[in-house]
Symmetry: C2
Subunit: 390 residues, 2 copies
Amino acid sequence: MKPSDRSIKRNITMSEVAAHAGVSRATVSRLLNNRESDIKITERTRQRVFDAIRELGYSPNRLAQGLVSRKKQVIGLSIPSFAPPDPSNPSWIDMHSTHIGKMVCGVQMVTHQRRYDIHLFERYEYQNEGSIAADDPRLDFVDGMVYATPNPEYPHYENILRSGLPLVFIGPNTLSLPVSSVSVDNTAVHQEITRCLVQAGHTRIGLLLAEPFQAPLSQLRLAGYQQALMAHGLPFCENYVLAGSFDVSHMQACARQIFEVRPAPTALIIGRPDFALHVAREMQRLKLRSPADVEVVVYGDDHAFEHMSPRLTAFDVTQQLLAEQATCMLFDELNGLAPSGRHLTLSGRLRIRDSSPMTGFFLEETPVTNIETAATTKGGVIGPNAVPIA
Amino acid sequence: MKPSDRSIKRNITMSEVAAHAGVSRATVSRLLNNRESDIKITERTRQRVFDAIRELGYSPNRLAQGLVSRKKQVIGLSIPSFAPPDPSNPSWIDMHSTHIGKMVCGVQMVTHQRRYDIHLFERYEYQNEGSIAADDPRLDFVDGMVYATPNPEYPHYENILRSGLPLVFIGPNTLSLPVSSVSVDNTAVHQEITRCLVQAGHTRIGLLLAEPFQAPLSQLRLAGYQQALMAHGLPFCENYVLAGSFDVSHMQACARQIFEVRPAPTALIIGRPDFALHVAREMQRLKLRSPADVEVVVYGDDHAFEHMSPRLTAFDVTQQLLAEQATCMLFDELNGLAPSGRHLTLSGRLRIRDSSPMTGFFLEETPVTNIETAATTKGGVIGPNAVPIA
DNA sequence: TTGTAAGCGTTATCAA
DNA sequence: TTGATAACGCTTACAA
C-alpha cells in the first residue's frame, strides 16, 4: 500500500461508546476507572456499556488519560553512553549494549508486573548533549525516572528534580543529594578486594581504573584501594594505578603499560570487563599465567570470563538487580509508600574463578528489606532469558 | 521530604506564556511550530514570546501535543522474551539482556539522531500474556512500531496493523505479510555454511537448532541445511539434527547427545551463542579439539567467542544493524518516503576464528540502498562478508 | 500578522 | 445512579 493510502485510523472514542450504549461519557469513564471498586452502577447499564466497548473494540486513549489524570503508567529510564561505538575495530567489545540490556531487563522486570511501560532515554554524555533538561518535553511521558549515572554531580538530574518527578539514581550518590539511590559501595568493594590480595601476600597490586582519575567513581575506588594498603602498612605507589578511558586503544595501551612497570605487579584489579579482556589478551601475548604470575580480579562480571582460560575472577555488580531495586524504590515513592532520599547499597557478588581464589573475601550481605521484587520473591531469580533472532 | 510534601508541580502552560507576552495562545503555538519556516510574525512579537518562554521556563506538554497533532516523536520497540530467567543456575548465560541491548542500541542509534524517543515493550511470549492487542492502550504513545519476532505468524502484530500504525518487523517475514521487514536469510546462511563444511570434506554435520522443530525459524534453517546436503548428494540423517529450547539443561542435554551419535559428527552448526557455549563446555569435557575433531560454526556471534580457546567461528547476525535498518525503514514510512511492505535482507557477517576456517564462504553483499544509517555512513559495518578476524 | 474558538479524548466536579 | 460541563494543554481552521 502506498503511504498515502495509509488510513490515519481514528480510534473509537469514549463518546462513541457512550452513544452506542445510550449513556453519558461520564458513566463509561466511571465504570472503567472503578473496575474493582464498589461504585454504584446499575447492572443493566454496566452490561450495556461493556457490550458497547466490546462491539466497538474500544480502548481508552492513554494520552488523553495522561493529560488529565497525570498518570501515564510509564516510567522513564535514562542511561548514559560514554563512548561512541566502534564496531569497525575488531578489538572493540560491545559492553555498552550489554550494560543497557541488563538495566532495561532489571527495570522491565518490575514495570512488567505492575503493567507499566518503559520510556527509554539515552544520554550521550560524551557529546555533551542530550541532557534531559527540566524543559525537556520528554518528561511529560513518564511518571518517574530511573536515572543511571556513575557521575552524580552531572547536572542533568537537577532538571528532573525541578520537574517534581520522583527520581531514583542508580549509582553512587556521592553528593548526598535528597534523591533516592541504589548503588554498590565502590570504596568498600575495592578495599575488600585489595585486602584479600594483600593477605594473599601481594605487595604490588595494579589498579586499572575505568574512568579518568578525577571521575567520582575513580576517586571512590582509589580510596578503597589506598585504605586497604594503608591498613596493612603497604606503601601506595602511583605507578601501579592507571586510569582508563573507554577508548579501545587506550585500554590496550594501559594493558601494555601496566606490565612494563618494574617491579612488575603480581596482582591486578581491573575496573571494567572489556578492559579485562584486553588485559587478558596482553597477558596471553606476554605468556603470563594467572593466577601464577598475576592474580586478576575484575570489577564487573561478564559471561566471557566463565569460558576463557584462565577463567577470570570477577566482582559482579549485578546491574540488573540494581535496576530492579531502583525501580521498586521508584514505585514506592510513586505510591507514597516511602519518602524519597533513601539510599540502598547492594553488595554485589564475587564470582570466584581461576584467576584469583580471593580467599576470605567478605562483604556483608545486603539487607534488601522493605523492597520486594520479582527477583527476591522468586528467590534469587534475577533476569529474563534469551532470544537471539534474525 | 515526605511523599505528601511532594509538590505536584504544575508546569507552565502555553496560556501563561501568551499572557506574559501579551499575545494569544495561537501566536505562541505558531511561533513554536514554525521555527525554521518563513511564517510571518513580527520581530517584536517573536521577541516578546521567546522572552516569555525563557523567563517562565516554558516547555510544551508533549502529551497535549500528541493528543491533538497525533505525533509523539516516539517509536515503540517490541521484543520477545521466550524463556524465564534462571540466574540461580550457574550455567545460565544471559543472552537475553545482551540481545535486548543490541536491539535497543540499534534503534536508539537512529531515533537519537531524529530526536525521537523509544517506548519499550517486552512480550513475554512464553507466558502467553503481554500481547500487544489492538486495544492495547500503550500504542497511543507511539508513532510507529519496530517489532522483533522470529515467529511471524504470532498473531500479536495483527493488532498493531489494525491500529494503522506503521510497523516494521525484525525477523523473517515468512508469511509475506504486507508489512515491511528486515531480516537475515536464515535459509541461505545455513545453506552456505553447510555447503562450506561439505566442501571441506565433512559428511556428518550436526545441526543444533535454536528452537523446536516446528518453529518457523527452525524450518528455515533446516531447509538450508538440507538443500546444501542434497546439492552435494549427501544423505540427510535426522540423528544429526537436534532441536533446542531455551532451557539450560535442555541445551546441555543436546550438547551431550550430539556427541553420542554414531558415527560421530565431524562438524557442528549451532543455532545460538549460549547453546554454543554449552557445547564448548561439553567438548572440553570430552577433550574434543576444534577444528581438529569437530569443526564448529555458530549462528549468532558473541564476544566471548573471541576470547575462548578455541575461538569460535560464528556468523554474526548483526542484530544491532538489523534494528538500525528497521528503524530507518520505519522512519521512511512515517515520513511517507517509502511504502510499507518492503523487505530488506541483510547479509550478516561471518567471523572466522579457530573453530572453522570456513574457506570459500560467500554470501552476496546486501545492497543497502536507500537506507542510510550511522553505521553505513561510517563505512564498513555492512561491507564485505567473510571477514577473518585477527 | 494576530486572535477567536473549536476540537483532541479523557477525568472530575457538580447537580439532577 | 447518572448526566452536563468544565478542565487538561495544545493545534488549527477561520476570522479579523
